[in-house]
């Protein structure tokens, strides 16, 4: 497999301002130096609690917001997207597409489904009108909608169907990478399974790569080949999905896994649960040392003073924890 995307030390700081002059008094480090890569045909899951920077990171990758620093090289050409001007960025926008969380607010209610799905084709002047119609029908069929649906408006569809429309739109330009930001969290359980299956099926069919952002660990496990766990703007652990869930190496990953209630009463009630105290700290005033130490039950002196780097402890397993060698953490088998 070849690398499709390589992110190096991506940072996004939002200034906090105060007073009449709106002077910058500090920064919220929404994304604080993350590095990862995505192989072709791979799904990388990005998990973390709200406010950990997973959405900000994805928006940077699409250049919807400009990163503060860092680089991300994309495609065979190895172009660093972070340095491109908006004009130079345009051809790359076709190759990276996004699926949003809320299908209600990401579809224009005054356009027909055909217009919504065909808009990327129209804007990029890829096809003539009549060719476009054929393509739209094909796209709708590939996501499980009917050709006649193209004349209807988004309100006439259920949540799951709307998400299918959003996916069809993302597929229109035949992208290489799809960034899906919480694509199933607004959906009901039975519909969620349909959309997950659809995404998996499309990945095979069109040879897509996904960056799949979600807060639901079981959903991420199901769809991802590798998983990155984020906490306060940093990646604390990244490894292949199975290893991560079976033997987590970072105490935060362990706590996250432990917090997910398993749909099996006997197992769930016997589990030894790790309860994290308190909330995620304010990202404008992160703790010293390891950001997780105030909530970590294994924290020692070194954790309070020094920030651990993300380092490789086994092939494909990277973790940012001082104690990763000594800790025996529990996962789910």
């Amino acid at each position: 497999m070849s690398k499709l995307l390589e992110v190096k030390d991506l940072r996004k700081y939002f200034p906090t301002r105060k007073g009449i002059l709106r002077r910058t008094i500090g920064h919220v480090k929404a994304v604080d130096g993350i590095s990862f890569d995505v192989e072709r045909g791979e799904t990388l899951g990005l998990v973390g609690e709200s406010g950990c920077g997973k959405t900000t990171a994805s928006r940077c990758l699409l250049r919807l917001i400009s990163p503060t620093s860092g680089s991300f090289t994309f495609g065979d050409e190895q172009v660093d997207l972070a340095k491109l001007t908006p004009q130079q960025m345009r051809p790359f926008r076709r190759r990276i597409q996004m699926v949003f969380q809320d299908p209600q607010s990401s579809l224009n209610p005054r356009k027909t489904v055909g217009d919504i799905v065909g808009e990327p084709l129209r804007v990029n002047r890829i096809m003539k009108r009549n060719e476009r119609q054929v393509q739209i029908v094909e796209l709708l069929e590939s996501v499980g909608l009917k050709p006649q649906d193209m004349r209807r408006y988004p309100h006439a569809f259920s949540g799951g169907q709307r998400q299918r429309i959003g996916i069809a739109r993302a597929l229109a330009l035949n992208p290489e990478l799809i960034v899906a930001d919480e694509p199933v969290s607004a959906l009901d359980v039975s519909v969620q399974a349909q959309i997950l299956n659809l995404l998996a099926e499309l990945r095979e069919k069109f040879q897509l790569s996904y960056i799949f952002i979600a807060h639901d660990l079981s959903v991420v496990k199901h769809i991802s080949d590798r998983v990155a766990v984020m906490y306060l703007g940093k990646i604390v652990e990244i490894s292949d999905a199975r290893t991560l869930y079976q033997s987590p190496k970072h105490p935060y990953t362990e706590a996250l896994i432990s917090a997910v209630p398993l749909p099996d009463p006997k197992v769930q009630r016997k589990r030894e649960l790790i309860h994290l105290e308190g909330d995620v700290p304010d990202p404008s005033q992160p703790p010293t040392g390891c950001y997780f130490h105030p909530r970590c039950r294994y924290a020692t002196d070194i954790c309070r003073q020094e920030t651990p780097e993300l380092h490789e402890i086994a092939p494909g397993v990277k973790v940012a924890c001082h104690l990763s060698e000594t800790l025996e953490l529990q996962g789910v088998s």
């Binding site: 609690e49 039975s190 496990k221 199975r242 997910v260 398993l262 309860h275 994290l276 088998s333």
Partner: protein, 358 residues
């Protein structure tokens, strides 16, 4: 045998809309025992929230409870009270709401008043119910919270695990995080030590680690006060963690109910089985495809004939055009408590029972 606290039988809540009549809650029966947790599961639009609101006579317009009984066994009264017979605006209903039956909602930001401090909001519930006296000044917000109510509010905040309650009591909801807000909601709900807590998707808007904290807190307080919980959720993991009994709803009706073991280890209705299969699991090996339920929930104004699940059901047969009854399963007929029996609304199981008895 656990004592019943609430017995709902054949409850029917109907919305008369311009487009037609929606039977949001249709012939729903279940019971809640003292100190126990009943989980109500279903997808959006299945009527689980309206069931919860019906118990408090809080059904929004144009909804009305049209049939059925909600028998509430109050602490000091021998005769059960039928809540459906009480006027929603009556003084009696007000006494029950918040005091004997409390409710917490999914989104704490929208259920808390943004212009009052959390302390005032907790104190409001305490003053309304605990001392009885309501001064007209307090009603218009002209009277400040008396000291004793404020102290009770601080006590409640400490009890739900909010650090530095003396400071937090004077803060506004926007200053608190989502998990803290939900704790404040729980503090408001529990300040009068209700006999029943209705929790409508209490953790859906929260992160998993915060969800775990809130669920643990609810279990702790339940053991302490001995209240019953009616937990409305779509998350089967939460149900597995919390519930003693489970009611599965689909399109306004109960399709299956039973003990938590019945539902998770011996699910009989195809919908229950479909739901259980369609959730991705944390453990075990990775499956390629999730077994999903086809199609979507039917529109409430255009329900299919017979069993509402029939168009999506993999095991559909001609008899499904008629509505099956909610029948007790043979194997659980011997359970002493009538309310604890495993019951299912499906023709497939009907046949199973027939074969066994014949």
């Amino acid at each position: 045998m656990a004592q019943p606290l609430l017995e709902v039988s054949n409850l029917k809540t109907v919305f008369h809309t311009d487009g037609g009549v929606v039977n949001a809650v249709n012939d729903v029966s279940f019971s809640v025992e003292r100190g126990k947790t009943v989980g109500i599961v279903g997808e959006s639009g299945c009527g689980k929230s309206i069931t919860g609101l019906s118990l408090l006579q809080l059904v929004p317009n144009p909804g009305r409870i049209e049939a059925g009984e909600i028998l509430f066994y109050r602490d000091d009264v021998n005769e059960p009270l039928d809540i459906t017979q009480v006027s929603p605006r009556s003084e009696l209903m007000r006494q029950i709401r918040g005091n004997e039956i409390a409710i917490i909602f999914q989104e704490p930001m929208t259920s808390l008043n943004p212009v009052y401090t959390v302390g005032d909001q907790i104190a409001e519930a305490i003053m309304l119910h605990q001392e009885g006296e309501r001064s007209s000044l307090a009603r218009f917000g002209l009277q400040t919270t008396p000291k004793w109510a404020r102290e009770r509010a601080i006590e409640m905040l400490a009890r739900v695990g909010i650090p530095a309650p003396e400071q937090r009591v004077d803060e506004y909801p926007h200053q608190l995080s989502g998990g803290m807000r939900q704790r404040v909601m729980i503090a408001i709900a529990l300040c009068c030590a209700p006999a029943l807590l209705i929790a409508d998707e209490p953790t859906t808007a929260l992160d998993v680690t915060i969800q775990a904290q809130v669920l643990a807190l609810m279990q702790e307080l339940q053991a302490e006060i001995g209240m019953a919980i009616m937990l409305i959720t779509h998350d089967l993991g939460v149900i597995a963690d919390m519930a003693d009994k489970v009611v599965v709803m689909y399109a306004g009706r109960v399709v299956e109910k039973g003990s938590v073991e019945d539902i998770f280890y011996n699910p009989l209705h195809p919908y229950t089985r479909g739901l259980l299969n369609s959730i991705p699991t944390l453990g075990g090996s990775q499956q390629k495809m999730l077994p999903s339920i086809l199609g979507t929930v039917p529109h409430p104004l255009a329900l299919p004939p017979g069993c509402s699940f029939q168009p999506r059901c993999a095991e559909q047969m001609p008899t499904c055009e008629q509505m099956p009854e909610l029948n007790t399963i043979d194997a659980s007929k011997n359970r002493t408590d009538r309310n604890e029996r495993h019951a299912v609304r499906c023709w497939l199981c009907e046949e199973k029972i027939d074969v066994e008895t014949a």
